[in-house]
Amino acid sequence: MRVRVKLVSLLRDAVDGAGEVVVEVDGDKAQLRDVLEKLYTSYPKLKKLIEGLGERGLGVVYMVNGQGVDLDAEVKDGDLVAILPPASGGAVLE
């Protein structure tokens, strides 16, 4: 299956400036954590960047099709995943 992953702000710089990356995962559905692991194999810097932000209290949130989710969330073919750092001028997104 193919999933689009949207990246904004400094996360975009970690995927060579692409605002959206397509990730292919085996099967018809997967957990979000599996999609991210696949993404990180192509962009190991992204994983380290996200970990570094988390350690600074700037943890990211994940969305699937515009809804906030955790890493256990199910992701299907065609879904749009977003990885969002804290909004500029605010705390972590709720």
Partner: protein
């Protein structure tokens, strides 16, 4: 009481304060409204002693619009005499002095309109996925969370060392 007017938008262009205010006054005066509060943010020309060249805004647009509308509806629901809330956030590359966000509130009495505008502004800044990149004379900075500035490229270099 009729439902309040709720409007939200993301705009690449500045809006006319006069036009929006006049339109809202026309639309709400017959309902008994007589006070309109506007907050307008604009790009600072100097930050931390350094000259700012541009401030670029990007939004996760669908979610940003949905969240702005949710904030407006929730805040309107807290005060019965809220007649209108209109939030417009700029996106794109802005220069010092350019407007960045507009919050219009029509409510009675006037102190409630001020309170609402203030609360809505705080919530938009905290909860809506909109991101800033500040380009100034000493470099480019991503702005994250409560005013944390991350020099562009520095975090990636740190990540590579991990």
């Amino acid at each position: 009481m009729s439902k309040p007017i709720i409007r939200v938008g993301l705009s690449k262009e500045p809006v006319s304060l006069d036009d929006v205010a006049a339109r809202l006054a026309r639309e709400t005066n017959g309902l008994g409204a007589g006070s309109l509060v506007v907050f307008m943010g604009f790009v600072k020309g100097v930050v931390d002693g350094y000259k700012v060249n541009t401030l670029s805004y990007e939004a996760y647009e669908d979610v940003a619009l949905k969240k702005m509308e949710e904030i407006a509806r929730e805040e309107a629901a807290k005060w019965e005499k809220t007649y209108a809330i209109w939030i417009i956030h700029r996106i794109g590359v802005l220069k010092p002095g350019d407007p960045t966000i507009y919050v219009f509130v029509v409510a009675e009495p006037r102190h409630k309109a001020f309170e609402l505008a203030s609360r809505i502004l705080d919530r938009v800044k905290h909860e809506v996925p909109i991101y800033k990149l500040e380009a100034r004379e000493d470099g480019e900075y991503w702005i994250l969370g409560d005013h944390t500035r991350v020099r562009r490229g520095e975090e990636l270099q740190e990540a590579e060392k991990r």
